[in-house]
């Protein structure tokens, strides 16, 4: 508990410090490439024949995903706290890459835990992390995916807590991580809200984002929470269908549990053992979800749905060919749901989809799945 309390104190102190904010903003603008555009996807909209679909282009950030918003914030915090060794877990490898980048830029040492299975399906990101100077530790325990990488990173942290900072990549884990990561990611929604008002002159009918751990979705939802006229949809991985072990949709199909220091919706069997998960996208392949999503669902403010592997693949193809944008497989789930949703809304309405990352990392996986 002590290291978490120290972290919470340090975060609270620096988050109120104008010079910390200024420094972070500088990094986000000059290094990461903020603000990102809000792009009106006109051909995708025409194809769906419904509401206008806007894409929040987090895929254009340095590293290719929204993850850098959080890693810059936390790496800067770690540096202020005097920690030199940074550890992180990664699923799809995007958080690992973003951690490696932030650490290289700030002169910190990065070690990344990654499940063996994820290393195999996200080979490109493994190479990127190594080229950026990070050490990648393969994780062979459990299902060899994201949850096991978190287990291993937690074990490392309790062993080396004195000199090590654990840079968690999503809005999961014990306090203060869910709050801190949400706050670092909430810049997505702040920009998107301003941009849609500028372009449409009114708020969107809906905001759609994919949910694995839930950081990009919380990041874009946060600024719209009090706009009750805006529907917020989180899209979980429907994998191969809704039988146990075939998907990664804790909010849709899980029940209350405790994992990784948080109480939230968890995929588990009757005895409380955590279920294995399956999704074509490594970044959504996680049996639990950030506790704030569980809370928001319980209040009815947000709604959660699933899209299957093949729906995500179709959306990938559609966006690539209609807009010349290859989305990562994670936000492809959100694109897929948004196109269905658009059909049921009026043409004067708009939808924002958080395009949380680009698809280069998934090209091999997709090439194996899609007919040429």
């Amino acid at each position: 508990m002590e290291p978490l309390e120290k972290l919470a104190d340090a975060y609270l102190r620096f988050s109120r410090d104008p010079s910390f904010k200024k420094e972070l903003t500088k990094w986000l603008e000059n290094y990461a490439g903020r603000p990102t555009p809000l792009y009106f996807a006109s051909r995708l909209t025409d194809d769906a024949r419904g509401a206008k679909i806007y894409l929040k282009r987090e895929d254009l950030l340095h590293g290719g995903a929204h993850k850098i918003n959080n890693t810059l914030g936390q790496a800067l915090l770690a540096k202020k706290m005097g920690k030199r060794r940074i550890i992180a877990e990664t699923g799809a490898g995007q958080h690992g890459v973003a951690t490696a980048m932030a650490c290289a830029a700030l002169g910190l040492k990065a070690e990344i835990y990654m499940g063996r299975e994820d290393m195999e399906r996200q080979g490109l990101n493994v190479s990127r992390m190594k080229l950026l100077g990070a050490v990648v530790h393969p994780v062979d325990s459990g299902s060899k995916t994201l949850k096991d990488a978190i287990n291993e990173a937690l074990r490392d942290w309790v062993t080396n807590v004195e000199d090590t900072y654990y840079l968690l990549g999503s809005v999961v884990g014990p306090h203060p991580y869910p709050t801190m990561v949400r706050n670092f990611q909430s810049i997505i929604g702040r920009e998107a809200r301003r941009q849609i008002l500028r372009q449409e002159g009114k708020l969107p009918k809906a905001v759609v984002a994919c949910v694995g751990g839930g950081s990009n979705s919380i990041g874009i939802f946060h600024s719209f929470l009090s706009d009750l006229e805006v529907d917020l949809y989180g899209v979980e991985a429907g994998g191969q269908g809704m039988s146990p072990g075939k998907h990664a949709a804790p909010l849709v199909a899980g029940r209350e549990g405790v994992l990784h220091g948080m109480m939230t919706y968890v995929l588990q069997n009757a005895e409380g053992q955590i279920e294995t998960t399956q999704s074509i996208s490594a970044g959504l392949d996680y049996p639990a979800v950030g506790p704030e999503h569980s809370y928001l669902m319980s209040t009815g403010r947000t709604r959660y749905v699933t899209q299957t592997d093949s729906e995500a693949l179709n959306a990938f193809k559609q966006l690539s060919q209609l807009e010349g944008i290859m989305p990562a497989l994670e936000p492809a789930h959100a694109i897929s749901y948004a196109t269905h949703l658009a059909k049921n809304l009026g043409r004067e309405d708009s939808i924002i989809v958080n395009l949380s990352g680009r698809g280069d990392k998934d090209v091999d996986t997709i090439a194996r799945q899609l007919p040429q």
Partner: protein
Amino acid sequence: MWTRLQDSFLSNDPIEQKFRELGKRSEGVIVAYLMGHDPDPQSFLANAVSLIEGGADILEVGIPFSDPVADGPTIQAAGMRALSAGATPRLILDTIGELSAQFTVPIVTLTYYNPILAMGVERFIRTACDRGVSGMVVPDLPLEEADAFRHMALKHNLDSIYLAAPNTSTERLQSIVNKSKGFLYLVSLYGVTGPRDILSAQSLDAVKKVKSLTRGKIPISAGFGISHPEHVSSLLRAGADGAIVGSALVRIVAEHLDNPEETQYHLKKNISALKQASKQHH
């Protein structure tokens, strides 16, 4: 020593009684851990009996969880063996019932919070009591979040045992001392479970630090990384009232999976040596 301050603590709690009884003879308490139903229910039962016969003072039984973040590879593997053999909390508690019907050693369970939550906190605690469990360790349930669990345990006269680490602040340690029952589980090093060859100076310092705070209010058992009789003697000399040995025993189980006689022989031999050290530490 624990005995000197026993007057304030005359309860019929089996765990406290054990510490009191051994403390009177200046003897340390050996807490022996095995993963429940590792590698199967029958072998586990026989292994537990060997530990009791070999001199274990308290038996600590693990109930497996798929994601045991506080455990190193040895106990993780044991949990996986138990789960593949079909272990559930209820089945392991039933086996504990068989043990407590035959032996008087206090039995403590160790499991993560999710299996408890899945069964229902009250049902879990009630079943455990009914099967003769005297105390519970829940490594991922910090004191700050444990109120409901602790009160339920109190209601059923079950000791809730909390972990303290070398970096636990004095303030928090104080509240752990106040709220713990049975004994205080001192994680005597940074890290996860697993046998180490050398007991660090850090571990002994942690014992001394905690000892100065508990001032006899509650016995201290030190765990994580204990495998040799010398570890036991030095921890007891530093002021611990007991020593917890886990991974070193689980490793014996793992090394002789096809040979139960060999497992039981080594478990018994090992625990006897540790027990011996707990008697002759001064």
